[in-house]
């Protein structure tokens, strides 16, 4: 029999928790089983122990060095009283026992992953996390393999090759699992890959379907009677919108976040940029680059598609998350999909067919004036067109880092009906040149130096009303804000900064409430969960990387043979942070 005082204390704690819990908290299972918290990818937790009144007392209770220096994007999973952490390359999977003091490792899985993608993966040798389903932890290794690991034992259940490194494909994205289907896609928009999504069998890893993001209807799994887009109609749009056979090196990668609507049985994901960056080498709309695709998970069939940036001139990938919400738009309840595109517009779409309901700029932009809702197309400013024949086109906003990075997944609170978004305020020059594709080498062809956008700050954390297309409040940050976001039923939003702070703000007012220096810049996404002791915890990765370890130049300290000057626009970031992967856990 355990000592009586402990039992009494535990009961008191549980009673306290239950009595203070709202209905929403009771509904939340306290776990974090997939990257976006739920299939709607809201990154909203019903836990409410942390409030604007007590969050000032939040303190670190545990930390762990991952032993890896590359960019720590993504987020841990918490399920079965275990925290699962996937590191950047070499993609180690750690399982921490949350029921024991000090959270010791239950097991560690160390895959045999090839080093070749280290300097191929753009940008940085990152990993965006795992997915828990059916007792398995499913994730991608950077070298083009997908693995399923037994969540209890750490044993490898299957390990299959899905992508081809020799063609420039790498696999840092987090899979989505729906029923018995694992959906994965490649990076490689800078290598002229022929982009795709694949559906694997959850039990075996066996390939069930491959859906190309360009090419003929048979390649894109587009079938008459099934494909019903609001704007785009007709056969072979993935073929006819490309000059000659340029679709074969379309780029059009899938490296962002996926979401799923069970009622419609549709998986949503964004497609990245077309290749090369010189648009004059690929006349046409270049569908379905820079688009959202709605596919049936079972057979991959394309149900609808919408292209945010036709004939991309600016590397405006659309890999950012598609957050599913039910909002009242123009006095009508709508099933919407909300997307903050690299191109600087926030889109509120009808998620049954892709109709644009609202599309407004959420950052300063000048490449287009507005989105025409009748056609769904942007109204362009021709002075910002790029191409090898146009030389150096000056001051295009936003930069190709995006008004928001697709890396930094936003959050949605059904309590405030607001979206919480990490944004980037950079502009760029764009000097394109003609490039030939040589398999296995980059297919880019543009020089694109950045400068801070209007106002001089490089980032802002904002709250956005997607029903009206308006910013409600914003917190300016010196550097681009590049972390994911979590928002809670206690009306707290958490985000991180490149100079290494984890911050908590009031989700209703934007008032800063708390911050802690986690040691290295935050490019991952904070999560919150209920521990085995019933308390609410917050976890986040520290470990700057991604684009910032490449373009800031001087952040990396682990390779003495690679010394770079800082980038002009961000010359002092290395004063505040270097690389270094850590997992942090916080509690009251």
């Amino acid at each position: 029999m355990k000592p009586l005082p402990a039992v009494v204390a535990l009961l008191a704690l549980l009673q306290g928790r239950v009595s203070s819990a709202t209905a929403q908290s009771a509904q939340d299972d306290g776990r974090w089983t997939m990257p976006g918290k739920n299939y709607a990818a809201t990154r909203y937790s019903g836990l409410n122990q942390l409030t604007p009144q007590n969050v000032q007392r939040l303190k670190p209770v545990w930390s762990f060095s991952t032993g890896v220096l590359r960019g720590h994007e993504g987020q841990p999973l918490v399920v079965n009283n275990t925290m699962y952490v996937v590191t950047p390359y070499p993609n180690v999977l750690y399982a921490f026992d949350l029921t024991k003091p000090d959270y010791p490792l239950t097991w560690t899985y160390r895959p045999n992953v090839a080093p070749n993608p280290l300097d191929i993966a753009c940008c940085d040798a990152i990993n965006r996390g795992a997915f828990y389903a059916d007792g398995k932890i499913v994730y991608n290794l950077l070298d083009g393999h997908t693995v399923a690991i037994d969540a209890a034992s750490g044993r490898e259940i299957w390990n299959v090759k899905v992508a081809d490194l020799a063609d420039g494909e790498t696999t840092p994205m987090a899979p989505l699992v729906v029923r018995d289907r694992v959906i994965v896609g490649p990076s490689g928009g800078e290598f002229g890959i022929y982009g795709w999504a694949k559906g694997l069998d959850l039990a075996t890893g066996k390939l069930v379907w491959t859906a190309r993001n360009a090419g003929s209807d048979s390649a894109t799994l587009t079938r008459p009677g099934v494909f019903k887009s609001f704007y785009d109609k007709g056969p072979n749009l993935g073929l006819t919108t490309w000059e000659k056979d340029t679709w074969k090196t379309a780029g059009a990668p899938v490296w962002g976040w996926l979401s799923y609507d069970a009622a419609l049985d549709l998986v949503y994901f964004g497609v990245g940029n077309p290749g090369p960056w010189n648009p004059e080498q690929r006349a046409g709309d270049n569908k379905w680059s820079n688009s959202v695709l709605a596919r049936r998970p079972g057979d991959g069939a394309l149900v609808w598609a919408y292209q945010f940036t036709p004939h991309d001139n600016w590397d405006y990938d659309s890999n950012a998350e598609m957050i599913l919400a039910d909002l009242t738009v123009n006095s009508r309840p709508r099933k919407v999909l909300v997307h903050f595109d690299k191109n600087g517009f926030a889109y509120t779409l009808d998620r049954t067919n892709g109709e644009v309901l609202v599309a407004e700029p959420f950052v300063s932009l000048n490449w287009a004036t507005r989105i025409d809702r009748a056609t769904g197309r942007p109204v362009l400013d021709s002075s910002k067109f790029t191409g090898a024949s146009r030389g150096n086109v000056k001051y295009i906003c936003p930069s190709l880092e995006g008004g928001k990075s697709p890396v930094s997944a936003a959050a949605f609170s059904p309590r405030t009906n607001l979206f919480y978004v990490s944004t980037v305020n950079l502009c760029m020059d764009y000097h394109a040149e003609v490039k030939a594709r040589i398999r296995g080498t980059p297919f880019i062809g543009a020089s694109t130096p950045y400068v801070a956008g209007p106002g001089g700050h490089m980032g802002e954390f904002i709250a956005w009303d997607a029903a009206s297309g308006k910013k409600i409040w914003g917190i300016k940050e010196r550097y681009p804000v590049w972390s994911g976001v979590v928002v809670t039923a206690g009306d707290i939003a958490f985000y991180g900064t490149l100079d290494g702070w984890l911050k908590a703000v009031n989700a209703r007012t934007g008032e800063p409430l708390w911050k802690f220096k986690v040691g290295s810049g935050v490019v991952g996404a904070p999560i919150t969960y209920r521990g085995p002791d019933g308390r609410q915890y917050v976890a986040v990765y520290a470990g700057i990387g991604g684009d910032w370890s490449l373009i800031s130049g001087d952040l990396n300290a682990d390779d003495p043979s690679d010394v770079r000057d800082p980038a002009d626009f961000i010359s002092d970031l290395a004063r505040y942070t270097t690389q270094g992967g850590m997992v942090w856990i916080f509690a009251l």
Binding site: N116, I120, C123, K435, P442, L550, D559
Partner: protein, 161 residues
């Protein structure tokens, strides 16, 4: 399409090479074997960073850049650095991007003639593709000449604000 495009690029590079073939730099009188246009790359290249067990170097060749210091070759190499998409990973001006900087005077796999040649010809394990199946030794040497022509910045080790 890939193959056709690559052949076109290589044809262009070879034309450029032929145009300057009458300006080959002279052979240095150092007794080191030269890479000639018809000679394949050696199986192994020695460079100074290698540590030899017992002080006995393993069998291997030393290579010397036949265009060492030749400005025209460096200019051709600069064009090749773009047309072979080297800049896509190493950045314009070789200042570093996804791949390491090649303009900082520091070398992950050695900076001697033969070491740089070997890196381009046979590739390196962290993602550097092997170009030896695509490019002749002459063309690779032009790239080496370009990289060696880049001015090494002063005061590299210290960064102060």
């Amino acid at each position: 399409m890939d193959f056709r495009a690559v052949r076109t690029i290589i044809a262009g590079a070879l034309v450029a090479l032929a145009a300057c073939s009458d300006r080959r730099p002279e052979t240095a009188g150092d007794g080191v074997a030269r890479q000639s246009s018809s000679t394949p790359a050696p199986l192994a290249v020695r460079y100074s960073q290698h540590i030899a067990a017992g002080g006995a170097p393993a069998p291997g060749d030393s290579l010397r850049n036949p265009y060492d210091g030749d400005q025209k070759s460096a200019t051709e190499g600069e064009k090749l650095f773009s047309s072979m998409n080297c800049d896509g990973c190493h950045g314009g001006g070789a200042v570093g991007f996804v791949g390491p900087s090649l303009s900082d005077g520091r070398w992950r796999y050695g900076g001697s003639d033969g070491a740089i040649f070997q890196s381009i010809h046979s590739g390196r394990p962290k993602g550097m593709p092997a170009f030896g199946g695509l490019l002749s030794p002459e063309i690779i040497w032009k790239l080496v000449t370009y990289l060696q022509s880049l001015p090494v910045p002063k005061s590299v080790p210290t960064q102060a604000w």
